[in-house]
Point group: C2
Chain length 293, copies 2
Amino acid sequence: MTKPLRDCHVTVVGLGLMGASLCMDLSENNLCREVRGVALRTRVVLDAFFSGAVHLATDDLHTGILGADIVVLATPVRAIVDLLDEIAPLLWPGTLVMDMGSTKSQVCAAMERLPARLQPVGGHPMTGKETSGFTAAEPGLYRGATWVLTPLARTSPDALALAQELATAVGAKPVLMEPARHDRLVASISHLPYLLASALVDAVSQVGADDPAVWKLAAGGFRDTSRVAASNTKMFLDILMTNRQAVLEQLDTLDAHLDEIRRLLTEGDEEALWEKMEGSRGARMAWHERFNQ
Amino acid sequence: MTKPLRDCHVTVVGLGLMGASLCMDLSENNLCREVRGVALRTRVVLDAFFSGAVHLATDDLHTGILGADIVVLATPVRAIVDLLDEIAPLLWPGTLVMDMGSTKSQVCAAMERLPARLQPVGGHPMTGKETSGFTAAEPGLYRGATWVLTPLARTSPDALALAQELATAVGAKPVLMEPARHDRLVASISHLPYLLASALVDAVSQVGADDPAVWKLAAGGFRDTSRVAASNTKMFLDILMTNRQAVLEQLDTLDAHLDEIRRLLTEGDEEALWEKMEGSRGARMAWHERFNQ
């Protein structure tokens, strides 16, 4: 029988936007017995401790995870895969091992290799901003957000229930999903927007190299469409490298739509252009109304 | 000698987001002698009048513009071109004829054909939202915004000064520019983001047709990158059809960047991918810091 969340020692490894925001919610609302944070940099360790986000902060992974009931890995994806190997021998039997990585197939494959005594549950809260790091963290980040959980076949019902309790405790809505399905969907809804934003900034920069006035004319359209291009590069490099096939497929899909726009515009086919644009508009408005974001 | 703005009768034709917001600023702050609004739909005429946005509201163009010192055309671009022909015979000598159209080459070509007694000054305030129509209008929309003005060689210095006075009076920063240059720059900074957002919604919709859960996972990245896809379709169709060459060139530029991303990702060239993404991030952050948007 697993302990309820309020009796758990929780260790979060990686105190960036996601990890630190989780710590803040857990400690400010006394949702568990103890919150520990592990970070590489001394500056972050000190900030986390003195801000009260955690009860114990350390740059020593072993100290941080020893005796934890729940370990949440909140680093870029490929570091999560490495960390799983590193922490496995040190955890108590029954420890719930969660992560917050942005892609799930490789993480869950690594979780599958964990010793049988551990209870892995992959996860990905659908939140985040273009800002990153401890200084961008804030309480309430997960309120109302969808938190995808990707349990393994070996995961016990109790362990999954505890993972769901944690997600729900910080206001998120847990959704269970297969890792491959998650990765295919986020390639479309998250990784593609990032690459578009990045390519847009590059295209505008090319115009700006000849005529810098272009930056002065930039208003809300450019601001919003390009926003995620300012995301943490290391995080996104890990995402792209661990989800290449799905991302390439989405780039192809997008390319087909841009090609069609180019063709209709070249031919001056106003009616078809109207249909296409009005269709996108309707889909965007329907999403906005339904999910109110 | 032209009258100062405070002595002018100003008529705004088209009471959507841009036109109505201008009326509100002018009338609320008593910036001119009289504000008149012309709209096609009775609903909008009534809303404009009873909200106090204008002193006189009408659906009759002739009534609206008769005796105006300044006429501001605030409809979609191709309607502006038609309106210029229609109002020309009815305006007093010396009337300042402005517009707020999103592309300037065709509008300014039509302004060139106006009778010599009129004073045309093209313009485009760099603001706007994905919402549209009178109900989306708000006072203060132009505060801090760049307002591009495209005077013609025939425009008198007094007329240009009055146009600048109007832009400045509502808090905007007037910037003078050639129409073709404006159109090339906004193709990059405004029209390209719109087409990207629209294509992104289409790509996600294609995934959503098989697996509607994709919409549930959508968070801030999709929300912001796709926002302008909800823009008024008629407005953007006019924009695209009056700026085809520049938009097609920008689509080609963007395509080259997407192709490069696809190649680097296919080859797994992490170093080059990092360089490219980190470069876009730097450019986006530099713009954000400089223009604080």
